[in-house]
């Protein structure tokens, strides 16, 4: 555990972005998430850690209502984004997902050109008035995802032709292009090699300036490296939530301590 250096990164923002109150999730008869309460801050990286099957990905998918696409999934409790309940009947899940972007475990570029991949969101949401503005959004998003230098000469080539790490950064650029307020990342580095992982982690740290980032990860080192806040899930419960440095150096719950020292998981 020597490489688990916890960077002394103060949480410099205390604005509440997302608040979850007593959230329960059921898959059919399975009780996947049990009464979770969590408060996610703006312009902060929050990491969800925990053993496989503990419900961290399920909870993440509740935050932009991606679970709506699964028939048997039922969510109860309140999730507030900027003090508005996202499960309220008057909220359009499609609009919500434009505000709460998502990056998935496996890079999933569309079978289109790099340019069209990034321009996909802005086009369907009508974020640009003309081609020049769209070009600008694409360039800005690719720059923000640290992919511009590698991709600028091949914007018309298919996104599926990039390497795995580049594909994942393309997916991040694609999510950034719609101008979200929150970026959800579901194990974004689990399919990447160490170099690509380092690039994406660096990127996450930069994205913190503009967005609230929530990242699910299996790697405790990664959570320690990129996040300011950490939540530990176990068997569908939120066991402990606090500053990353506190969770990793001075866990309050014995289960958290067991997990980060490698005894459960």
């Amino acid at each position: 555990m020597n490489d688990m250096r916890v960077l002394e990164r103060a949480v410099d923002n205390q604005d509440l972005k997302i608040a979850a109150r007593d959230v329960d999730v059921y898959y059919g008869t399975t009780h996947a998430i049990k009464s979770v309460n969590v408060e996610i801050l703006d312009k902060t990286v929050t990491a969800f850690i925990g053993p496989s099957g503990c419900g961290k990905s399920t909870f993440l998918r509740c935050l932009n209502r991606m679970n709506d696409t699964i028939d048997i999934c039922r969510v109860t409790g309140d999730i507030l984004l900027d003090n508005e309940d996202i499960y309220d009947a008057k909220v359009d899940p499609v609009q919500l997902r434009a505000k709460v972007g998502m990056v998935f475990q496996k890079p999933n570029p569309f079978p289109k050109s790099i340019y069209d991949n990034v321009a996909y969101g802005p086009r369907i949401h009508g974020l640009s008035r003309n081609k020049a503005e769209l070009d600008e959004i694409v360039e800005k998003s690719l720059r923000r995802a640290a992919l511009w230098d590698e991709a600028k000469d091949r914007l018309d080539q298919p996104g599926t032709g990039l390497s795995g790490g580049q594909q994942q950064r393309l997916c991040i650029a694609r999510a950034v292009a719609t101008g979200p307020e929150v970026l959800l990342m579901d194990e974004p580095c689990s399919a990447l090699d160490p170099i690509a992982t380092a690039q994406v982690e660096e990127l996450i740290d930069e994205l913190r300036e503009r967005f609230s980032v929530v990242i699910v990860t299996h790697s405790m080192q990664q959570a320690a490296r990129v996040s300011q806040k950490t939540a530990f899930f176990h068997l569908g419960e939120l066991v402990e939530y606090g500053d990353t440095s506190q969770i990793f150096t001075n866990p309050q719950d014995s289960r958290t301590e067991s997990y980060i020292t490698g005894r459960i998981g």
């Binding site: 932009n64 991606m66 696409t69 028939d71 499609v94 609009q95 919500l96 997902r97 434009a98 505000k99 972007g101 998502m102 990056v103 998935f104 496996k106 999933n108 570029p109 569309f110 079978p111 289109k112 996909y120 969101g121 369907i124 949401h125 599926t160 997916c171 694609r174 999510a175 719609t178």
Partner: protein, 486 residues
């Protein structure tokens, strides 16, 4: 010995070999199956294969070769003059065979003794009458040469069959003995059986391929005969189809090809949107319960015989189109029309398009859908901009397969569009297709040396070339698609 018996005898030998081989293997392992290289069954099968396969192979080759050899021997006995007077050597030979069969039958019924059958001569006996009395009718007086040839034929055939029986049974016994002697616990019997299975599979696929080649070759030969009688320029570029069995026909391909293309085009205009949209609905929107009911219901359409579709075209769609569209618009008074056949054929093709497209849309990875929904796209935006482009090559393949199915369709066209070859743009006019004309030229009394009958083969070959081309194109596109996602 009749053929069936010898086959049964070989199979019985094989079964005995199976039991013996299994027992010997077990004995060599001292009753412990675990110390065998293969499972005990494999040793039995190994002996069975060695007993049966070479024997049956020799049997089938012998059956093919023996008649040729005997014929060659007997032909020498027929003088050239006899052959010339009968017109064809093959006619004389069939006479010889008929007389030989008659003699066989006479011996069987006791009308002739074996000795008599071998020695009777036309000079002393009226063979024709003798055979007629036991029910074997011969067209002509039996000449002395033919009778002698027939007797020789009988002798050769009897000897040949006895030799064959002996060789086959001997071979089966040798195979059995050899494999039995080799059976030992170290023998890799399952590898032998594996190779036998492999050859069986190869044999099956070879037969399938050779059949295709045979069909194409027979078409090519007949087509060549047609082009000897009729100039190919007039066939491929002729715009008139006026066959007349008195000669002087005009056999132009263009009107038939036009009818085929026109009807298939209308069928695709009907089936592609309907099929594709229902596939999108089933794959993306419908609940799994609805899907499990609706998909088989659509696929039932593919199970309806085309003649039933034809009836539907004839009594429902045709009159309806005539009464509500063609007559009010002043476009014709025929209930048989291109539009009728095209629409009904389109309905028939819906399941081809929808079922394949549905599978292909389902094969688009879920991660692409998640990616699109995660960016705030709606379902229809996702379908239009992500799923259909990703599935496009497969959908094109499905449409091409449906097209080649439509091009080959006959019954719906006969009943829906009539049988009049015509070049016209009016969709309410009766027209016909290549397949209908193939049927038309070959039904009834046909003389296979006239171009009017032989043209059917040229039409068939043209059609085959077109559908083959479409299928190859479809396969090529589908394969390219598969490489992308697996």
């Amino acid at each position: 010995m009749p053929l069936l018996w010898i086959v049964i005898a070989v199979l019985v030998l094989g079964t005995i070999g199976y039991v013996l081989g299994r027992r010997r293997a077990m004995a060599s392992a001292e009753g412990d199956a675990r110390s065998l290289h293969s499972l005990p069954n494999y040793y039995g099968l190994n002996v069975l294969l060695f007993a049966v396969v070479p024997a049956l192979l020799v049997l089938s080759v012998w059956l093919l070769v023996q008649p040729v050899v005997i014929q060659r021997q007997v032909v020498n006995m027929i003088p050239d003059t006899a052959a010339q007077s009968a017109g064809e050597l093959s006619l004389v030979m069939s006479d010889v065979r008929r007389v030989a069969d008659g003699l066989d039958r006479a011996v069987e019924l006791g009308a002739l003794s074996r000795e008599d059958a071998r020695t009777i001569r036309t000079e002393f006996t009226n063979v024709r009458d003798r055979l007629a009395s036991i029910g074997v009718a011969l067209g002509d007086e039996v000449s002395s040469d033919v009778l002698r040839a027939a007797q020789r034929y009988r002798v050769l055939k009897t000897t040949g069959t006895i030799a064959m029986d002996a060789v086959v049974l001997l071979l089966a016994a040798i195979g059995l003995g050899y494999a039995y002697a080799r059976t030992h616990k170290e023998l890799r019997a399952r590898n032998v059986v594996e190779r036998a299975v492999l050859s069986l599979l190869i044999l099956a696929s070879t037969i399938a391929i050779l059949t295709t080649v045979g069909i194409v070759l027979s078409m090519i030969i007949e087509t060549r005969d047609f082009f000897r009688l009729y100039p190919w320029q007039q066939f491929f570029f002729g715009t008139q189809w006026i066959p007349s069995f008195e000669g002087g026909s005009e056999l132009g391909l263009i009107p038939l090809l036009w009818g085929t293309i026109y009807i298939t085009f209308i069928a695709l205009v009907v089936s592609v949107p309907l099929g594709l949209f229902s596939a999108v609905y089933l794959a993306e929107y419908a609940s799994s319960r609805l899907r499990s009911v609706a998909k088989p219901m659509i696929e039932i359409l593919a199970g309806i015989p085309t003649i039933v579709y034809g009836l539907f075209a004839l009594i429902t769609v045709g009159p309806m189109l005539r009464d509500y569209f063609a007559q009010p618009l002043g476009l014709g008074t025929s209930s048989a029309s291109v539009a009728t056949a095209g629409i009904v054929m389109g309905i028939m093709l819906i399941p081809f398009v929808s079922s394949l497209s549905d599978d292909i849309i389902n094969a688009v990875p879920q991660s692409l859908r998640d990616g699109s929904y995660g960016l705030g796209a709606t379902k229809s935006e996702t379908v239009k901009q992500v799923i259909l482009p990703a599935a496009l090559p497969g959908i094109v393949g499905a449409v091409l397969l449906a097209t080649s199915r439509g091009i080959g369709e006959t019954m719906i066209v006969v009943l829906g569009a009539g049988a009049a070859a015509r070049l016209s743009l009016n969709p309410f006019e009766a027209m016909t297709t290549v397949t209908v004309k193939i049927v038309g030229q070959l039904t009834g009394d046909t003389d296979f040396s006239s171009p009017e009958a032989l043209v059917a083969f040229a039409l068939g070959l043209t059609l085959f070339a077109i559908t083959l081309g479409l299928n190859v194109l479809a396969l090529f596109i589908v394969r390219k698609y598969r490489e992308e996602y697996e």
